[in-house]
Amino acid sequence: MKELLEKIFENIYSNGLSEERYCDIKEFISEKLISEYNDYVMNREIVAKNKVNTLDIVLPNAKVGDYYSQLLKIEDEEIIEYWIEGLKKTGLEVVSEIVLDFQKEDNTMVQGSANLEVFDNDNIECQKQVIGTKNKGLVIKGNPIMSGDFDLTLKYKYKGWFDGCNILERKLRFAINPDPRSLWKDIPTDKNIKFYKDDFVSEYVTVLANDKGLQKDIVAASKRGRSHAHEGKARDDDFKLYHNDENGWYIIAVADGAGSAKYSRKGSEIACETSVEYCKQALQMPTELEETILELSKAEEGYSNRSISTLIYNIIGGAAHKAHRAILDVVKANEDQVRDYATTLLLAICKKFDFGWFVASFWVGDGAMCIYDKERQYIKLLGTPDGGEYAGQTRFLTMPEIFTPESIMSRLKYSIEEDFSALILMTDGVSDPFFETDANLNKVEKWNELWENINKEVDLTDDNSESKNQLLNWLDFWSAGNHDDRTIAILY
């Protein structure tokens, strides 16, 4: 370098050069060159930075509890090494990509610097960092333990980098979603509220085998929905079961208090209690009804029997109307509004005769009520839900228009069945996740799915009273976006 300078000076300053001038020029040239060099270094950094910043690096969002694995690879000649910092808190780790094609593996680079000691901000200790190269990427993997947005740093060295050069970096935003289940709180309902009701309840009605063989039992469970539990609000659903051990009549009621109605929890309770009590009284000595049913069982199919319609109208229609009146009485006594007690009602009575089963029902509002037989792949929907084209336009027991004779008739159903696997009554908290729309209620496949799903967790064998707890647990099934109270009653 020195020789080179002197040669230049000899050529330009052929007349000689003073010592001062020489030093000055030397200083000037040094400054110039250093500045040029710094620019050169900076340019090299900028080129590398631009390259990395424009790379399409996307880390898909992770979810707490779900195993995560994502490859990050920079396949660029200019970027020789890279690694990731900031993952410590997330529970994830970085490992080297497994490259199957060993020919392509960048052996020199990996062996030379596979484990670089760097200072990680998350951890006041030095730790081994896994380094990625052009041929061997990084895999971020593991089970995320913490939700949130994390700022990760991708650090890298460019081609020509040597100790003393800057390590460059790019910020990467990485989101870990919480498990939605963990976000739902379960706040018990305040027991001091008006019309307090337990947050969940289950019941089993055992009907012992008699000389005619095994008898069907009833199991039912009702549980607050996640949205109610989240806010410490009471369960709005209800149910009531009854079996007359003397004469064999079963009575089942399920009701869904309207979510928007203040005291619908009371409305559904009155609806179930009153209608079941009414039927219970009416079915103490139902001689006329049973005689008519026997007659009906002998009649040809399609034969319409007016007296059975009238009897059903009086018993079940009467029960529904009695429940309607009972709600009005409570409304009056409490000086509330009728709409505050809005509730649906699904009511069924049935009995096994020698010829088979007689089932009769009344249905107002949404939810579902159906006779299901697995063997015969047979379903009989006991009415149609009052859904309308748009959700939320359901009818309620509290509405006076329900009790015109035509409306009552249209809501009553009776049926003679040889046998069946189950008579199922449920509120929309169960029917919506499984059937979604009213049209699907008519599809036996959908009922098969429901039945299989229940039977996976609930042991529906005769006299198994433990199944009430299993059914209660089953009601916790996860369905995104479905947070309603859930109630189901099964006669099987």
């Binding site: 996307v58 898909p60 969002n61 979810k63 939700s147 949130g148 947005d149 935003r173 989101a175 979603n177 919480p178 939605p180 976000l183 739902w184 996640r226 949205s227 989240h230 979510g259 928007s260 084209e389 748009y390 959700a391 939320g392 979604e436 729309t437 009213d438 049209a439 699907n440 369905s479 995104a480 976006g481 479905n482 947070h483």
Partner: protein
């Protein structure tokens, strides 16, 4: 399941360059990370972003919150609000599920429009397409004094105005949007009814003025 689609229409014209656009980017980020912590929104709300400058483009298609990735947003060009409305109408047709006998469709979409200037294209053409679709609620926000609230009133009843388009004000607007989406997700779940009007949203913060 029934989704609650949320469309953000964001003005990315040249006048938004600098502080306003940075605040918008930040706002989107805060919006998403807040909603991810809300169990109703996380399960129900889906988000799409349409930006408009000299033309309109959907930079994020209707996406579940849990998979949403922050898009890159830059400001330049004019204000093609008309085109943005037409694009919104087209995307709603494509992305929002309609109710049929077998499928329960999505809830009616919520739309939040934010602009800081007058539209530079033909608003009426896009507006006509937009008006043919059914929305749960549409909120138009005039960011700063440059936007004409009368123009926005043609799009929707619900017009709000920010006095200035500085980062603090834009931030509080996005906070309000986030609270509104939370409230909307909860409302549809609890009452099984679409979101209908401004009165169903949480009250806006002092920086966000309702234009009567």
């Amino acid at each position: 399941m029934r989704r609650l689609p949320v469309y953000l229409l964001l003005d990315t014209s040249g006048s938004m360059y600098g502080e306003p656009i940075e605040a918008v980017k930040n706002g989107v980020q805060v919006l998403v990370s807040t909603l991810r912590q809300d169990p109703y929104a996380l399960e129900t709300a889906y988000l799409s972003i349409i930006t408009f400058d000299s033309s309109a483009q959907q930079i994020v298609p209707l996406t579940e919150l849990s998979t949403f990735q922050q898009p890159n947003i830059e400001a330049n060009g004019c204000t093609a609000l008309g085109e943005a409305l037409a694009l919104l109408a087209a995307k709603v047709d494509m992305e929002v599920t309609k109710t049929t006998a077998e499928v329960k469709g999505d809830w009616k979409p919520l739309v939040f429009i934010m602009t800081d200037g007058e539209p530079t294209d033909d608003l009426n053409k896009g507006l006509a397409e937009f008006k043919k679709r059914k929305f749960g609620m549409v909120v138009a926000c005039a960011a700063g004094q440059g936007a004409n609230t009368d123009t926005l009133k043609k799009i929707t009843e619900c017009v709000v105005q920010l006095d200035t388009a500085d980062s603090a004000t834009i931030k509080s607007f996005f906070k309000w949007v986030s609270a509104s989406v939370s409230a909307g997700s909860m409302k549809v779940e609890e009452t099984c009814k679409d979101v209908g009007g401004l009165s169903e949203l949480p009250p806006p913060p002092p920086e966000v003025n309702i234009v009567v």
